[in-house]
Every structure is written in structure tokens, then in C-alpha cells.
Amino acid sequence: MQGFQTLFIPGVLIYVFLGFFIGTFFGAIPGLTATLAIALLLPVTYSMDIIKALVMCMGIYMAGMYAGSITAITINIPGAPAAIMTAIEGNKMMQRGQGAKALGQAAFASIIGGTIGSILLMIVAPFAVKLALLVKTPGKFSLILFAFVVVILVQRKSIAKGAVATILGIMITTIGIDIMQPARRFTFGIDFLVQGIDLMPLIIGTFAISELLIQSEKSCNEYQLVNKEMLNQKIRRKDFLPSIKEIKEIGLMIYIKSALIGYFVGVLPGAGGSMAAFISYAEAMRSSKNPDKFGTGTLEGIAAAESANNAVCGGALVPMLTFGIPGDAVSAVVLSVLIINGLQPGPRLMTTQFHLVAPMFAALFLSALIILPLTLYMLGPYFIKIVSINRKILYSSIALVAMVGGYVSTYSTFQMLMTLITGIIAYFLRKQNYPTVSLLLGFILGPMIEKYFRRGLYISEGNPLIFLTEWDSIVFLILIVVFYYFMAVRRPIDIKEAIEKIDLNNLK
């Protein structure tokens, strides 16, 4: 509750709004994501008051999840992966002239989902903290191991690629000085590498530079076509609000159920907006009265997807703040904000330094419930214009901010170079569909898992069985087995069928 008080100091409040606008901008433009936005702002948070920085991140988060639906509906290009389902349903509606309805529905669902997510966050957080206090070193190792396993298995399509990306991430962090002893590792005889590769260049490189490289490949023609289409759409302000009749038709349950699904998917490490949207969409289809309508443009589908993906914001913050294990890519980058500013997520953060974190919760809630409808109403029609921004200006600016950001973290051009190199590596990985979330988690959690592994062995004086005898470790190891069973062995067949059905319906 105290968080709300802090939030309403005008100096702080501005940042939530600012974050929201930035998030809308980045979320709406295809290729740019909220993750990228926060990644670019990382160097900036260094010199900013941490509360303002975090609160801004929350604005970006909530906005980014929603904004992807704008271009998804209007031009069938999702601004963010979380909006893919919205694109399928929404664009069909757009083509029928019902675009405004779709946009309104998306917004409404996002508001509800986001609000529920943030409320759940506030309720669940204290319990999660109590739980976190019970976990000791061996348990922490197994917990992170569990997180890695989840992230990798959740990829479904290529587990090997997920594993590779994660391991690469961990490996990169081993370069430099060993974490427990003053000895150098993996420097390959290059003196510069002793300093290791800083987290900021890693993140900026992975998201910003690789995106830059991917975009440079694309021909300008595609972009221009898109622009022309955009400028032909005209949408009035009023169109954005869904009618009460429509809401009743869909049924309040869909919103709530999807929000819950979204929240819990968010809590799972590595699973984020897109997975949440997808699962709740499939679930809505399964339990719907008219499942055949899905894929042809139904409000139900949009409602389910958007409610879920905005609820993820609240969910993903739970493990991130209490355990230091991010629930999705955005929370992973927010985690870096905390780390870079010297804050260690975990029970201590949540108890003694809670005043720093509380405004975050309030900000999330505010963004969902108030800012979203507000900006929607005032600026709705202009959202569409965002996409027609001049590509060359956009990307050269991003490149500049990114590279300078890489420099600023340590005032070293070496890290700048590392930003570039990380970007190149990430570029090749992305081209081959290696998941970047796994890479990111590898960077962030890699040092931690090694630390807990070695510390655990130190405590047990070299006996590896400690991981099997301490009950906190056993819990997570069992969870790993359970999860593996559900994901890899008993494949969720209905979801696969659902995908195939939609693809058939969506033939262009």
C-alpha cells in the first residue's frame, strides 16, 4: 500500500507515463519489443533513481504487451510475438471492416488481464517470499536447474537449440575471473578478456544489435507497402470501446480464466506473453460454444489472448523478485536493471528493501487499469501512425543508442566491441531460430548456478549427494522430473491440433 503513496509523487508518476509511451512505441513497431526498450534504457538506469527506473520499466512492460495488438489487427504484423493470436483473429475482423471492434476488444481484455495480474502479484508476493526464505543453497542450485529445464523444454520445437542457447549464455559468462577464486579463466591469452564481458553489452548486443542486423537484410519494399496500407486506415476514437453486449457474449469468465492462465504461465521461467496468449487461446477455443469460428475473426480469441498476455506481467515478476529467476524475457531484463544497480533480488529485497520494489507493483496496476484506457482514448487513432516512422532514422538511432549504451556501462570501448560481437552471435542464432530468451537466461543465471553448485559442494565438503539429500533441493529435482514428463513425454496434443487447424483457416 505504501507503494501507492510513493507512486503518486509527481516526479515518480511521470516516469510511469513515460515508460508507458515508450512501451507503446516499441511494442507497436514490429521488430521492436518492450525487451529491447528496457535493454536500451539499461545504461540510463545507472544514473537514474532506481524507483523511477523500475516504475518506468513497469509502464513499458504493460504497454508493450498491449501495443503489439495494434499492428497485429490493422496490418497483420504483430508488433510483439505475444500478439500473434490477436493478429490471426483481429486482422480477419479488420478485413471485414470491424477493425475498431477488434482494437477495442484487445484493449479491454488487456486492461482486465493486466489488472488481475498485478493484483495477483500483490497478493501472492508475500507468500512467495516466505517460500523463498526456506530455500537454502542446495535448493537454490536445483531451483535454477529447474528454471533452465523449464526454459529449454518450453521451446517444444527444438529442445536442442534451446539447450545450446542456454549453455552458450552460461559459457560466455565464464570468461574472465573465476567467481570464487582469484584466477583467470577462458581468457585465451587476450588480456582484455580478463574483465569478462559485462552484462549490459551482452543484453544490448543480443537484442538491439541483432535486431539491427536482421532488419538490415529486409528490403525496404516490404516496409513501404506496409506503410501505404497503414495510412489508408481511419479509425475514430469512439470505436475503441467495446460494447457491453459484446462483453456479455464473450462472458466474463473468459477474461478471468485467460488472465489466470497468463499469470501462471508468466510465473514459469522463460515462458512469456506469446506462450500465455497461445495457451489461453487454445483453451478458449476448446471450451467455446462455437469453436469453428476461431480463425475467422472472433472477439473471443482476441479477448483470451490479450487478457492472458497482459496478466503475464504480474506473474513473471513473482519468481523474478523473490528468487531472482525471471518469468519471461522482459522481467529478465528488468532483473538486469536491479543487478546493475546493485540490488539483489530475493527475500532480502522483498523485506528490508521493499520500499524500492513496492512502487513497481503499484505502477503495474496503474498502467493496466488507468493509463491504458486513458492513452487509448486520447491517442488511439494516432497509434497507427507510429508505424510509419522513417525506417532509416529509426534504426540508425537505435544503433547509436545501443552502441553508446555499450560504452557507457564501463566507459570502455572494449565492452562496446563486445556489444557488437554479442550482437553478431545473437544474429546468427536468431536466423536459425535459436531462442534468445534461453541465451538471456544463460547470461543472467549462469554465474548463479555455478556459484550455488560450488558453494553447495563446499558446504558438504565435496559430497555431491548433498543435492539429493537436502529436502529443498529434492523438491525442485522432483519438479524437474514432473515437468519433463508433462512436456516431453505426454505431449499436449490438443495444442498441436489447434495450430494445424488455425493454419488451415488462415490461408492467405
Partner: protein, 160 residues
């Protein structure tokens, strides 16, 4: 043109997997050279890295096998790789000269060259000036942002 030997069947998936395996081997060798993983019954600093290195081999080999099984063949499209390579090259130069000639000058050149690269409209001469103007504006904006508002010091140029 239908040679059936393995070399012809390498596609981008397998290629990346092979590169990963090579890089991993370099990593592993470096690790073993640094310190033995287990010494006197105690785990050394290279134990964990070597473990994950082995895991990476397994994963990379799985990808390699899957890649070889795929039907697609490597299509080396030179034009497609030209733009990203140019971006990489330009950025590399930027890093090299950043400290030497200072933020403002190097960034203007950087942004300018990127804009020219991303340029999609035809009509040369008149646009060139506009590009230069844009670059200067962007660079100065960012400069103000970092220097004044965030208090970050950007290099002024050692050459001067």
C-alpha cells in the same frame, strides 16, 4: 549438379552446428589448459565449464544430425549477406575511432553511414543533405540526453 556426398548436403543448420562444435572445442581446450578439473579430489575452477561444454557437444551433435537429415541445401546468397556485413563493418570502425576522435564526430559519421545504408528512396543528391542534417540532429539529441540529463561523460577525442 546432384552430388550426393556429405559436403554437398551441408545446410545452414548443420553449418552452424559445426561452427558451434569447433568453438566448443576451443573452449574445452582452453579450459583444460587453464587448470585440471579435478585436483586432489577437489573440484577445480574448470570443472563446471567442462561439464557444460560436454553438454553443449551433445546438443550440438543432435542439431547436426537433424540438419543433415533435412532436405534443404545451403543457399549462399551473397546479396542477402551484404547489408548485415556492411553494418558490422561500419560498427566495427565506429568502435575503433570512437575514443580517438570523440563521440560527436564519430557518431555523426556512424549514423550517416547507417542512414545511407538503410536508405530506400531513390533520388540521390537532394537527399544527401537531408541525411546529414538528420544525423547531426540525432547525434546531438543523444549527446544532450546523456551528457546533460544523465550526467554521463562521452569522449571528446584524444587526437585533438
Amino acid at each position: 549438379m546432384a552430388k550426393k556426398n556429405i559436403l554437398e548436403r551441408i545446410n545452414s543448420t548443420s553449418l552452424l552446428a559445426i561452427i558451434l562444435i569447433i568453438a566448443n572445442s576451443i573452449y574445452l581446450i582452453e579450459g583444460i589448459n587453464t587448470a585440471p578439473p579435478i585436483k586432489n579430489g577437489e573440484l577445480g575452477i574448470t570443472f563446471f565449464p567442462i561439464v557444460i561444454s560436454v553438454l553443449l557437444y551433445i546438443a550440438a551433435i543432435c542439431i547436426l544430425i537433424a540438419g543433415i537429415r533435412e532436405k534443404s541445401v545451403l543457399s549462399f546468397n551473397l546479396s542477402k549477406i551484404s547489408k548485415p556485413s556492411a553494418v558490422i563493418f561500419i560498427t566495427f570502425i565506429y568502435v575503433l575511432i570512437f575514443k580517438q576522435i570523440g563521440y560527436i564526430l564519430s557518431s555523426i559519421l556512424y549514423v550517416l553511414s547507417l542512414m545511407l545504408l538503410f536508405e530506400d528512396e531513390t533520388g540521390f543528391k537532394t537527399k544527401k543533405l537531408l541525411n546529414i542534417v538528420y544525423s547531426i540532429i540525432i547525434v546531438l539529441l543523444i549527446y544532450l540526453l546523456y551528457q546533460k540529463i544523465f550526467g554521463v561523460r562521452l569522449p571528446v577525442g584524444e587526437v585533438f
